[in-house]
Homo-oligomer: 238 residues x 2
DNA sequence: TAAGCCATGTGAAATGGTTCACAGAAGAGC
DNA sequence: GCTCTTCTGTGAACCATTTCACATGGCTTA
């Protein structure tokens, strides 16, 4: 994947506290982790949350600063309050409706995945150009033909879209989406979308993610072998 | 998504030319883009490749430095040579076989997606704990029960795995994978995997990606965001 | 009330990554 | 051959993000 998000944060003069994209991602993870906590855990320390999220205590505290922090030195952070503060920082998100373009294998699995696992943003409509699929209901969501995109997006105030399509048509679809008023696109197609300024694109490039993994896994194994051969005495836990 | 990548390339003190993960991802994108070029384009300039990949000319040149650059000032880069150099940098990747754990909706769509679109790494085996699926063939790939994981991984020298599962079992599966000798995991489950040092994990967190998108798409409507999230400016003309 | 502990919040330093800017090279036109 | 143009390759500057380190302050125990 790639996660080529290109946002150049310049001029954070005084407008907006300038939250970094990385921090936003982690806040999302923190929130999910916190929400899964048993009720028997009303408080949590930064190092505990860090361990659960694969982060570091300092990182967690730094991230939490942007939501107006609320930790108490001896108890840690109040879980419920944290969730609430994160939600407040994300305020408005819950009102976003999502459109999915592409009801193929990937599209359908995304519907299933998000319906099960994600409750703040929901898929409001599915679009596909295959006439066999349109005007049917896929996993409980109505599938429209592409021609109705603009109408449905406007009627339902949809602001973000997921592109789950083979490359060829992704750019064309992105243009239709932005023309219909979409301001955010989650793109699974392995192409770089050109969109008007003001529209945000997040790419998930599975092939690139695999390449990256293969590259580092290889060197990782070399490193492992090197360590094993060098000395077999000292095991480092971490 | 998130792309919380936790690959501990700590201590790359002086070993390994120290290529950054971001550069590796982009090289993967460059290679794919180059491979799709028509034969009528034997040479390409850094700014052309940048425009195609949503990057900048300086970034492209900087990235290409790590593969031992080969550009000619007046012609640009020889496409075929570039591909070859990138492959050399990724040397060994082509020998990686991939295991997929989870033959549910997401798993199956990944098989289809990768079979169609990706030719350097291929899925060698699928594993699932559902007895209805195992010992069947899914999209042309044999599906084994979890119990055979270790044997198959060893027999086929599989070194990287994809986890396409609901959260609950992901950690457990990660442990089985690393025990079987896997050194790289592409994780779609929204949990933070704990793996032994030397194993590389790349997370694709679709829910976090959507959150990030929603956050920036929302603010994207503001004047401020226009500047911050700019996508297509910066890709200059020249 | 005082002392000890431990975790927070946050400047400041370190690290990682991107962009700038320019020297140098190679073709094009004259 | 000389000059003009335009590109590459790369040191240096710049910016973003992470980590360090410590002052601060609440809680507990006595």
């Amino acid at each position: 994947m790639t996660f080529i998000t290109r946002n150049q944060h310049k001029a954070q003069g005084q407008r907006n506290p300038g939250v970094s994209p990385k921090t936003i991602e982690r806040l999302s993870v923190y929130r999910r982790t916190l929400a899964n906590l048993p009720a028997s855990t009303p408080f949590i320390y930064s190092h505990e949350l860090a361990a659960m999220c694969g982060s570091s205590a300092a990182q967690v505290r730094r991230d939490l600063m942007v939501i107006g922090t609320a930790g108490c030195p001896s108890r840690g952070y109040a879980v419920a309050e944290l969730i609430e503060l994160i939600d407040k920082r994300f305020a408005g998100i819950s009102s976003h409706a999502v459109a999915l373009v592409g009801a193929g294998t990937l599209g359908r699995s995304l519907i299933a995945y998000l319906q099960r696992r994600y409750h703040r943003l929901s898929i409001a409509a599915v679009f596909d150009k295959d006439p066999d699929l349109t005007s049917r209901v896929v996993y409980g969501i109505r599938c429209y033909p592409m021609g109705e995109l603009r109408r449905v997006v406007e009627e339902q105030s949809i602001s973000i879209a997921v592109i789950a399509l083979p490359d060829a048509s992704a750019q064309e679809v992105a243009e239709q989406l932005t023309a219909a008023g979409i301001t955010g696109i989650l793109n699974f197609a392995p192409v770089s979308l050109r969109v008007p300024s003001g529209t945000c694109v997040v790419d998930i490039d599975i092939a690139a993610a695999l390449d990256k993994l293969a590259f580092f896994a290889r060197t990782g194994r070399d490193q492992y072998l090197r360590e094993v051969m060098d000395e077999s005495r000292d095991k480092h836990g971490h």
